[in-house]
Symmetry: C2
Subunit: 468 residues, 2 copies
């Protein structure tokens, strides 16, 4: 295997052994692991295509991987085989200011795309929390959101076209650099396809103007209920902040324990609000009024960029700080219409109590995108089962309230068996039919998104410790 | 047929004879006509599903139709059968301000959606030129653009979910009212699917804030070249106007002939520029400077809403005015990266000269979306062949310049045989595979988008007067 792949790619471009097994056996969803036989580091689309054709000849499964920051196991090599890393595919190929677009290789990071055009007052708008390291290809696979999704939308709205190696090794061009391409639009399948339809190697993306003015505030509430009602009130009033994030008491306690940051006494929830664009000041004044009307008791606005970064610190350090609360954290991901936030948060706390688990919440409230974090000690017998049951209870409630099984982290392997909660057999058949347009085999990123893939029984059994 | 359909829908809901044949044998693409056997007027999704199931039982082709303002024959009943009109499906079902969305039946017009939420400072952003009468379902089928697409994007970006009767008569719910729905996204196929994947009966759409400030100007140039270079310069400078429309001398002459409107002497091209949002005034000042730097010689800015409507009049009356130039007008539709506008316009004039045709241009320049209008007398022998050949030459050049076979009017029947200019056999196979997810038969809007559909040979032969 190594010899043949090295013959295709050249020396130093194929990793095996410990280097491959330790670094590439999972992504940021660490609950499930599976070791690849080899990791390859192609530099061009043609090299990716050659690797994929080799995998087809030898019946070797393959899984593309960007920075490995995905949270649902999308880059997990579930059946082993070859991991195709885009680590060396970081080139920006073209910037067209007149057409407001940029073409880059899939391994370029969000940050590098924005850095390349900052001098022109532009940026690539998608900003997952991992934006400094996460890659364009990973963003496309997962249709990534982020704190600023509320105003700027998920990745799908920012991708004009992709170059993709299909599961047979053919190179396809999908989408169009110009608006309104004719025929059926495949980008909606590929963006968010979690790498199951092929390996995206290049993409042409929209460039958006950098906001000229940014206003950021951190607002304290005496109850989560008051904070979630404020979220709905802000949107209903007509203000669309660039970001509208909620942090509850559990997270604040963790941040104080971990980093010594303090918050106004009596804070049961904080809202981090950012408005941008020429109306930012007026919008923020309106937000301040609405917060007060809905029961906020402390309002701090950043006077400069340094203070702004300080306010964001609580949001950005929140998840990391949770390590102080318990040895293990499982971050769930669901979404509901934002008007349902107050009752959904009540469900989250009630479910945690019912299953005797710690829970803390830090999430994109403006999108209605929940991230309840359960914290626990996984050495306690039975606790993992309780966490799984609690997660399912929360997701069921999200669906009941008109939401969905995943907000922004994707299905991957994590939520495979939750798909039937949301999709009936006919819906799942449609999904399988759509996948089969590109992927009729079982080699390209197997065992993801769609449950009950034949070749995956072994993996699932090993992973779950149960037969399905 | 009438009895059975009336049994399903009730009295007065089935049209046949002259009423059906005269009013429903084409849409706004009038070059091709085909008479339906009946037109039905359902009021609910269940009624549409019942009609579609009846069509399946009786092997009757069916074609959905909104206002019939489509420009490529998407609502043409190519093989006769039943036209399913959404004329009676105009209800707005739900408005959710907190979630910034609205749910309506497919027959609701763009205008009615916006009117319903104007009191809240919101609107439905897509604005095809036919917005007062064109329907939500038609917008979805054609993924409609419009003058404000430049800033606000085509319809696809504004649709959250749809209810659709699939070609077998099953009711599907696709998409999600919340962002980031899991699984493969079918909306990209259905929006822009030109009604070939099923009959959309309801949709939940985004509501966007009405701009608080609007600035509109009409700017005159001594050459088309100067005007097109200005378009690229404006975008490259960082200003994204809400609308950026170009009107050339041919159109101006027609408008003067038809409506007596006058324009600054020496105008070879006008740019209509509209900026909106809180920065509108600053943006318009910048536009003014850029126009001057690129050779404009006259600049008029609307001082109030009345003057704004007056400036828009030239744009809105342009196509209608062309009736003064010749008995027949064929409006083409192509798109290129906007940086290529100067050389593309040169091609348009050169092609018209080569084929001895009159040509005038009025189009969404900011999008690079061309609409060359050929005007001619179709009673002159051989002229239609020249128009067809000229159109193909223009589309070929669009594709060479990185653009596409259709900008916003769709493929329909009009551009069926141009699809292979842009798509190879493998691309067309992918398109057919994608269609087959929903539509494996040949009853639902046959003979559209994909060339060489077996059942359509007769229609094509009759229409083109040639065998394919």
């Amino acid at each position: 295997m190594v010899e043949e792949l090295t013959a295709i790619l050249g020396a130093g471009r194929v990793l095996t052994g410990v280097a491959a097994e330790r670094g590439y056996d999972c992504d940021a969803y660490t609950v499930d692991r599976s070791r690849p036989a080899a990791v390859v580091l192609p530099e061009t689309t043609d090299e990716v295509a050659a690797v994929v054709r080799w995998c087809n000849r030898t019946r070797t499964p393959f899984t593309a991987r960007g920075a490995g920051t995905g949270l649902s196991g999308g880059a997990l090599p579930a059946l082993g085989g070859v991991v195709i890393s885009t680590k060396r595919m970081t080139r920006i190929l073209n910037v067209e200011l007149e057409n407001r677009c940029l073409t880059a290789q899939a391994g370029a990071t969000n940050k590098s795309l924005s850095d390349a055009v900052e001098q022109y007052g532009l940026h690539f708008a998608p900003d997952p929390s991992s934006a400094t390291v996460s890659t364009l290809g990973g963003n496309i696979a997962e249709n990534s959101g982020g704190p600023h999704t509320l105003k700027y939308g998920v990745t799908a709205g920012h991708i004009r076209s992709v170059r993709m190696v299909d599961p047979s090794g053919e190179i396809l061009e999908l989408g169009s650099a110009v608006p309104g391409a004719p025929g059926l639009d495949f980008l909606g399948l590929v963006v968010g396809g979690e790498g199951t339809l092929g390996v995206v190697t290049e993409a042409t993306v929209n460039l958006a103007p950098l906001p000229t003015l940014v206003a950021t505030s951190l607002v304290a509430f005496g109850s989560v209920q008051a904070a979630t009602k404020t979220v709905a009130a802000i949107i209903a009033d007509g203000v669309i902040p660039a970001a509208l994030e909620l942090i509850d008491k559990g997270i604040l306690t963790a941040i104080t324990a971990a980093f010594g940051m303090t918050f106004p006494p009596g804070s049961e929830a904080l809202l981090l609000v950012e408005c941008d664009g020429p109306d930012a000041n007026e919008e923020m004044e309106r937000v301040k009024t609405l917060c007060a009307e809905n029961g906020s008791f402390d309002y701090r606005r950043a006077a400069n960029e340094k203070e702004r970064q300080e306010l964001w610190r609580a949001r950005k350090k929140g998840i990391g700080a949770m390590g102080r609360l318990a040895p293990t954290i499982v971050t769930h991901d669901g979404v509901i219409p934002r008007s349902k936030l107050p009752e959904m948060l009540e469900t989250v706390y009630a479910v945690a109590k019912q299953y005797d688990l710690g829970v803390a919440n830090i999430f994109h409230a403006g999108d209605g995108n929940l991230h309840p974090c359960f914290y626990f000690d996984d050495r306690v017998p039975g606790v993992v089962e309780r966490v799984v049951a609690a997660g399912e209870a929360i997701i069921r409630r999200c669906i009941e309230l008109g939401g969905s099984v995943s907000g922004e982290h994707g299905i991957g392997v994590e939520k495979l068996d939750m798909m039937p909660l949301m999709f009936g057999p006919e819906d799942l058949r449609l999904q399988a039919d759509a996948k089969a347009i590109f992927n009729t085999g079982d080699l390209c990123n197997p065992c993801k998104v769609l449950p009950n893939q034949k070749s995956c029984v072994e993996h699932v059994r090993r992973w779950r410790g149960v037969a399905w």
